[in-house]
């Protein structure tokens, strides 16, 4: 029986540390799972970083992977979400010859319909920026492709979960728990 695979967004909150990218990506690599996109930035908490990774795998596997990620010393917490549980987007840039912008009405229509934005324009080329769902970017790409795209780049997915990810309280709890743990131990045992 084929195990059902889904696209998951993995959100990882970490301390800022050189080498963590290597540690986290190794967890996927070792299990032969392709990371489809990755994005890292500061989070809502000072000195806490947030990673968004997109992978396609089964729920059983992603659960175990989250366990392995959380096991890393500098990882505070990791979550996984299905697409419908997140609000997410990607950004793309297109570089296209300027003359086409004036000659081809279809391009102008595509820009208008897709809500893309012209970032810069000069005599030789113009740069178009489009943020949104992967499908919207793919559609714009397909529309522009026949006219010739000089350069195209798309970012990794960034994603916000609909449910809370209470990192501040987890950090406070982690601190507290250690002290409580000691007290529990001494109550039971010592």
């Amino acid at each position: 029986m084929e195990i059902e695979k889904h696209v998951y967004t993995v959100s990882v909150y970490t301390e800022n540390n050189i080498g963590l990218l290597n540690r986290i990506s190794a967890i996927f690599q070792r299990r032969h799972i392709n990371v489809e996109s990755i994005a890292a930035s500061e989070s809502e908490i000072e000195n806490v970083f947030r990673w968004s990774l997109v992978v396609k795998t089964s729920e059983e596997k992603i659960k175990k992977i989250i366990g392995q990620i959380e096991k890393q010393i500098e990882v505070i917490k990791a979550y996984y979400h299905l697409d419908e549980e997140t609000i997410s987007l990607e950004s793309a840039l297109f570089k296209i010859k300027s003359e086409l912008l004036f000659e081809k009405r279809e391009i102008q229509n595509s820009i208008k319909d897709s809500n893309a934005r012209i970032v810069t324009v000069n005599r030789d080329y113009f740069v178009l920026e489009k943020s949104g769902k992967r499908s919207e970017i793919d559609l714009l790409y397909r529309e522009l492709y026949p006219f010739g795209i000089l350069q195209f780049v798309r970012s990794g997915r960034i994603s916000i979960s609909k449910s809370p990810m209470p990192i501040s309280s987890i950090l406070a709890e982690l601190h507290l728990e250690k002290h409580e743990q000691l007290e529990t131990l001494s109550e039971i045992a010592f």
Partner: protein, 577 residues
């Protein structure tokens, strides 16, 4: 695991001193209570070695003959003492040679701190002489690693390294230090690490889960405990013994759990796994409650997962949350330190008696005895068996020796037949299966426990993987006992070739040198036994020796280790022949 004293931050070296990075490293090691470390010098770590030279009255550096030996020696030291083992090497090949031992320590949860020298920071990334990205290389096999490029980072990072290595589920940590950081002067002050924000070494015990588990155990008619190294790492031997005695529960062990409960204990029903004992394996698929404590359901323990203990409710005591449901789904998971968890459950358990259930173990033991054990221990054929050598060692050790075994047939035989009275007595490479482990590990074990007899049991294959450590034994005069069980084959692979590859002995025949001459070349007392009538006296002589002693025993070439659960088979389909 030690319970961390989190409330007070102990300042070890309160006075601020102006030190070089190299001297700071040595002071950090002293502050962490390190009295011996294993290593090999080289260009990028010379400033630290220069400081070790000055402190040699306080800290003993053991020069191994290969960096792999340094990590295994540090592992042996850690496994017998419960303390953190320390290994040191230079950059490049020195560092890469540590990797096998580090990987072994990672999979077997052994606390190690490995310190490697690195090229000067301005040369990083330039392919400088003996530069290698050891942080990148060691990442997947370390619990934590870090590169230091400034001397001022040293105290904080070393303190963190020791804390991470020994706390929670222990493991290896690698710290890479650039040469310029070793020379650089800074104001040194050392504080022990007592906690890291993002790291929770021992999860809080859920007392509801504990009482649910107790209820399940109290109702059980056929409970079975399988314990692993978690018992030893958390020092829960006494608690485990109290539980099995109170509730009359048969208890079996994984290879790394061996010796936590004495072999002679009536409720100790033997080893689980591929070459373990017949009764605990077969009855894993008969028990109604399987209580796994500090073990991780390795594939060599479970056999085919699809048929593993499906009839049983599973209770899993485990400190590492990522192990829960990893291989076997737990009906009740109790996260936390084994000792604390067992102390919590003990008063909730009813005194019980399970004579009928225990009888099943005795019955199956009798079958195993008749079909396997009898011929192993009291062979009727001419060729010496590995088991009778172990039996002879038992006679003289009376169960008090620490047995350090390598990997292969002799390892399985040693674990099956060695008798243990004391915990931390079975030191072997479990998860990684590293041939070459035993000889250097025995060196470290003996140094950490000089009052104990340490006997290394090694095959002729594994012995030649780290044979150069005979030089370390000679130089340090560490009085270990070395037994090579020589069957002139890579025996375990040969056994598989015989059983599963139609006896095509591809590259498993060993044409061996004169091992006794080699040992004698290192001025180690040595003897070779080829006949049964010589065995007793030779073992007696070895066990009585005050110095290091090498004993080679020529054993039957093509003996197999049974019982056996073939790969993919169910634990209850264990083969006796």
């Amino acid at each position: 695991m030690e319970v961390q004293t989190l409330k007070e931050e102990k300042v070890i070296f309160q006075k601020i001193e102006r030190l070089t990075g190299g001297e700071a490293i040595v002071k950090c090691l002293l502050a962490e209570g390190v009295d011996v470390l294993y290593g090999y010098p080289g260009g990028a770590i010379m400033p630290i070695y220069d400081e070790l030279y000055k402190y040699q009255d306080k800290i003993h550096h053991v020069l191994t003959r290969h960096e792999q030996g340094a990590t295994h020696a540090a592992q042996g030291y850690a496994r017998i003492s419960g303390k953190v083992g320390v290994a040191m090497a230079t950059s490049g090949p020195g560092a890469t040679n540590l990797v096998t031992g580090i990987a072994d320590a990672q999979i077997d949860s052994t606390p190690l701190v490995c310190i490697t020298g690195q090229v000067a920071s301005h040369l990083l990334g330039s392919d400088a002489f003996q530069e290698t990205d050891i942080i990148g290389i060691s990442t997947p096999v370390t619990k934590w690693n870090h590169q230091i490029t400034k001397a001022s980072e040293i105290p904080g990072i070393i303190a963190k390294a020791f804390y991470i290595a020994r706390s929670g589920r222990p493991g290896p940590v690698l710290i890479d230090i650039t040469k310029d950081a070793q020379f650089e002067e800074f104001d040194f002050e050392y504080k022990k690490c007592t906690g890291i924000r993002s790291y929770n070494p021992a999860p809080k015990i859920d007392l509801n889960a504990v009482s649910e588990a107790a209820e399940l155990i109290n109702k059980a008619k056929k409970p079975l405990i399988v314990w692993g190294q978690g018992i030893i790492l958390s020092g829960a031997e006494k608690e485990l013994k109290e539980i099995i005695e109170k509730a009359d529960i048969p208890a079996a062990w994984t290879i790394l759990g061996a010796s936590a409960i004495p072999t002679s204990h009536p409720l100790n029903v033997g080893m689980v796994g591929m070459h373990g004992n017949y009764a605990p394996n077969v009855l894993t698929n008969d028990c109604d409650v399987l209580i796994a404590i500090g073990m991780r359901f390795d594939d060599r323990v479970t056999g085919n997962l699809k048929t593993y203990a499906k009839q049983a409710k599973v209770i899993h005591f485990e400190i590492d949350p990522s192990e829960i449901d990893k291989n076997v789904k737990a009906d009740i998971a109790i996260l936390g330190d084994a000792k604390a968890s067992l102390r919590a459950i003990l008063p909730m358990l009813n005194a019980n008696s399970n004579p009928d259930w225990l009888q099943k173990f005795s019955d199956l033991y009798k079958i195993e005895y008749d079909k396997v054990i009898k011929e192993d221990l009291f062979p009727t054929k001419d060729g010496l068996t590995m088991a009778e050598v172990i039996k002879e060692i038992n006679t003289y050790s009376k169960g008090d020796a620490a047995i350090v075994s390598d990997v292969g047939q002799h390892q399985m035989v040693a674990c099956r037949y060695a008798e243990f009275n004391n915990t931390k007595s079975n030191i072997t490479s479990g998860g990684l299966g590293t041939m070459g482990f035993a000889l250097p590990a025995a060196i470290g074990a003996k140094m950490a426990a000089p009052d104990r007899d340490v006997v290394a049991i090694i095959g002729d294959g594994g012995f030649q993987m780290t044979i150069q450590e005979l030089g370390t034994i000679f130089q340090t005069k560490v009085p270990i006992k070395i037994v090579v069980l020589n069957n002139e084959f890579l025996g375990m692979v040969r056994q598989w070739q015989e059983l599963f590859f139609d006896r095509r002995y591809a590259s498993t025949v060993m044409v061996n040198p004169d091992f006794v001459a080699i040992a004698k070349g290192y001025y180690i007392k040595a003897k070779k036994v080829t006949k049964r009538e010589e065995l007793k006296e030779a073992v007696a002589e070895m066990m009585a020796s005050k110095d290091a002693y090498f004993l080679e025993v020529l054993v039957e070439k093509e003996n197999n280790v049974f019982p056996m659960i073939p790969t993919g088979a169910s634990v209850s389909d264990m083969r006796l022949s």
